[in-house]
């Protein structure tokens, strides 16, 4: 079972906070509007619980995913309901809304948005933990909420056959645009031991 003590948990949420703050700045620059963040949620969950954790009433999820490995193995995801994703793309491409569906050009644009947002966060986390994270290319998919996690991986990151993962979730709320999405980071259970030692070293450096 994954467990982190209070210091490690606090450090992880703080590092994640720094990362998503960078993401919010990047998204704000792209859409020209203020982006508000919720306090990150942290929990250990079963993989099959993820859809119900993020569902907002939509049946379809618009997911941009990048996996990472090396310093830690995991997956980072930017998730919107399909309508939220289409609304964001319409804003970015100056297209009329509503768009009928996520066609190739829109998916490509959303992939790049996800790439920027996810990497802004991952780079901050990597530098804070003094590790390197090699990332996969972004993949954008519209998939059914119930099955998107198992089908979206590149095979580079976590083994989704594992039953548990660390879930770090934050809401991104684009003010004045009515767009809300989620940033989700999953860590492979096997990375947990490494994560604990990295967090301990991070806390020690703070105290030095």
């Amino acid at each position: 079972v994954i467990s982190l003590d209070e210091d490690a948990r606090d450090a992880l949420v703080e590092i994640f906070n720094l990362g998503v703050s960078k993401s919010a700045v990047a998204l704000s620059q792209m859409v020209g509007a203020e982006v508000r963040l919720s306090t990150p949620d942290f929990e250990v969950i079963r993989i099959d619980q993820i859809a119900e954790k993020i569902a907002q009433g939509g049946d379809l999820a618009c997911v941009v995913r990048e996996d990472f490995r090396d310093g830690l193995d995991g997956g980072a995801m930017l998730v919107f309901t399909e309508q939220e994703g289409l609304r964001l793309v319409a804003r970015l491409l100056d297209s009329p809304f509503p768009l009928p569906k996520l066609a190739e050009a829109e998916a490509e644009a959303l992939s790049e948005v996800g790439n920027i947002i996810l990497n802004a966060c991952l780079a901050q986390i990597a530098d804070a933990l003094q590790i390197y994270l090699e990332t996969s290319l972004p993949v954008c998919q519209v998939v059914g909420m119930a099955k998107w996690i198992p089908s979206a991986g590149s095979g580079m990151g976590p083994n989704m056959g594992t039953s548990e993962a660390i879930l770090l979730k934050v809401n991104l709320n684009v003010e004045e645009r009515g767009i809300m999405g989620y940033l989700i980071f999953l860590l492979d259970v096997r990375s947990t031991v490494k994560l604990k030692s990295l967090l301990a070293a991070f806390v020690q450096r703070l105290g030095a």
């Binding site: 790049e112 948005v113 947002i117 990497n119 990597a126 530098d127």
Partner: protein
Amino acid sequence: MTTILVIDDSSTARKWIAREVRKHLPQAEIVESPSGDAGLVLVKSTTFDLVTVDFNMPGLNGIEFIQQLRAFNPSIPVAMITANTQQTNIDRARALKAELYGKPLTEAVVGELLRKAGLSP
């Protein structure tokens, strides 16, 4: 005529970079390449004043592209424009005489980038 090669697998990113560059250099000729491999072919056949390259791409990544470019062109200004701004990548780029700039590019950052490349309007 200033000629700039923009290498990025994302057409959205290429358009974004071209748009920001044209705010400073409206007359610049901007050549787009969707990969490092195709970009290498272009820099061997055409003279560019500046090359921008993404880091994370299919085929050659940005660092690998610059390594191969430096083997036959040690002096052309190169800017690696990527969302992956880890310190390791900044150090790798600098070791190859390239600067790393984070996405999304802003008008101010592009101005700095062009000045460092000796392309101030």
